[in-house]
Structures are given as structure tokens and as C-alpha cells.
Symmetry: C2
Subunit: 156 residues, 2 copies
């Protein structure tokens, strides 16, 4: 698995990152794709969102359980989005702001600065959007229609 | 990047796979996670959907453009979901049917039989669902609210 570019964000440390970037929509990041892949971005500018896959380079630990920031209970690693997972692959849906040459500017930022990029996929509502999905331990935190304060900043 | 399990599906050849599994909802598949990761599945059974990341093992070619099955026009590889991408990582949102020990049965199947599994993430509507996303070249194919016939079977 090789890096195909680098993600630049304002987050130098884990502590300031929101648990999901859509909860801090004003923050901007950008990715710099290696020049050899630049033409692969053609037509992505007509999409509003992209799925970024990247390497959780901040840790090389693997654990089968973890405690999400929203909870005091541990859950299985495949039921949470914690970095300490086999292969350390991260996934975020970001909002595309602009694409110029090999650079893509986006909001919905939740990665560390310097994160190695693995792939970019177009977000396709017709394939990827399940508004009625049941979301286990997560749903209760969003039950009142508000964004939980712990989702904005990891400060538990 | 190492395999953490194997995905079993009825699809032995590319030709029969729907472009997205949700368009052939009755087809069932299952994944067999390596035994050492079994406890990582705890609490995933309370989610209705999961995101599977896997290795597109059917090809080792990489191309910067490709023609999606729905189109006659080529598009940049990062604007389509074609396997011939750097790192050959595939992504599908599947519907969880049951989890027993290290096996997860699911529908929304669109992988080849024998596909190496890289990661399982819980699908979280609050993070992953963008009903109003603009989807470039894809939207026109779904404009009348119907699933295009080419989306069911790759037979162009």
C-alpha cells in the first residue's frame, strides 16, 4: 500500500480534531496528489463530495476494542472508526471546494496534517447514502436531532 | 496491506456482478474474518450496514481513466469506482444480515468470490450519508427516479 499524495490540514495533534469533519464545516484542508496521478482527477470537480482513504500514520498499534469519544463503553474495533485497526486505513467523506491541477481543496476535515493519501473515490448518493440505516451505539447520541458536543471536539 | 479475511460471493466472474450490490438486493454473500480478529466484531450486529474495504485482486493494472458501465465517455479514475486505481482498494456499503463468531453474512453484494478483505467499518448515517450530494456524470442516469438497467448487470 503506497501513498499517492499528502493531506494537509490545520490539525497537528489528535486533540483538536473533531470526531467527524462535517461537524466543523468551516475548517479547510487540501490534498496534494502526486503529479503522476493528476489526470485521474478529471471530472471529479462535478461531484460535491469525495471519499478519501488514507493511512492512519499517527499510530502503529492494533487493538480489537476501543472506546469512542462519544462513549464510556468499549466496542469492537469494527464497530467504531478508531485508528487502531488492522491495516490502519482511515475513511472520510469530504466536501469538495475546488480542484486545481493536482490539488483538491475540501472541507469536512478530520485528519492529521501530513496524512498519507491512499485513494480518492467519488461520493455517489445512489450507491453510498442510506438515510435509514440503524447505527448501533451511535444513534442514541443523535436522538434529539442535535450534534452532541463531544462530536465537535475530542475533549473528554 | 494485508488480508484480514476472505469475502465469499456467488460471483466467480466480473461479467455477472451488478455495478452496485444494492441493485440486486436478494443476492447474499459472507465474509470470513481471520480468527484472531473475531472479537473486533463485537457490537457491529447492532448496525444495519457496514462499509467493506477490500483488495480488487482481479487486476493489477492501473489506468488514470476508465469508462464506467453506465457511460460511453471515459472519466478520471478518481471520478469513477473502477478497480484499475492506484492501490486497488474497493469499497462497498453492505447490509448486515447476521454475525456468527468470525462470519458476517450480508446482502448488497458486488465483489468477486475470494476477494481479500482489508477492513470493516460501521456505516454511520450521521457521518456518511449526504442525500443532497451532487454526483457528476452519475446523476443523469438516475434522473427519472428509476434504477438504470445497466446498473443491474454489466452487459453493455
Amino acid at each position: 500500500m503506497m501513498s499517492i499524495g499528502v493531506i494537509h490540514t490545520p490539525y497537528r495533534e489528535h486533540d483538536n480534531i473533531p470526531i467527524q469533519g462535517r461537524f466543523k464545516p468551516a475548517v479547510e484542508g487540501w490534498l496534494e496528489l502526486d503529479k503522476e496521478y493528476e489526470s485521474g482527477l478529471n471530472d471529479l470537480e462535478r461531484f460535491s463530495h469525495a471519499i478519501l482513504l488514507y493511512h492512519f500514520h499517527g499510530t502503529d498499534k492494533v487493538a480489537m476494542t476501543g472506546k469512542p469519544y462519544l462513549e464510556n463503553e468499549p466496542h469492537g474495533i469494527f464497530a467504531i472508526r478508531n485508528p487502531r485497526r488492522p491495516n490502519h486505513i482511515g475513511l472520510s467523506v469530504v466536501q469538495i471546494r475546488s480542484i486545481q491541477a493536482n490539488c483538491l481543496h475540501f472541507t469536512h476535515v478530520d485528519m492529521l496534517d501530513g496524512t498519507p493519501l491512499l485513494d480518492i473515490k467519488p461520493y455517489i448518493t445512489h450507491f453510498d447514502c442510506f438515510p435509514d440505516a440503524k447505527c448501533g451505539w451511535v444513534d442514541k447520541h443523535f436522538a434529539d436531532g442535535e450534534i452532541p458536543s463531544k462530536a465537535i471536539k475530542k475533549d473528554d
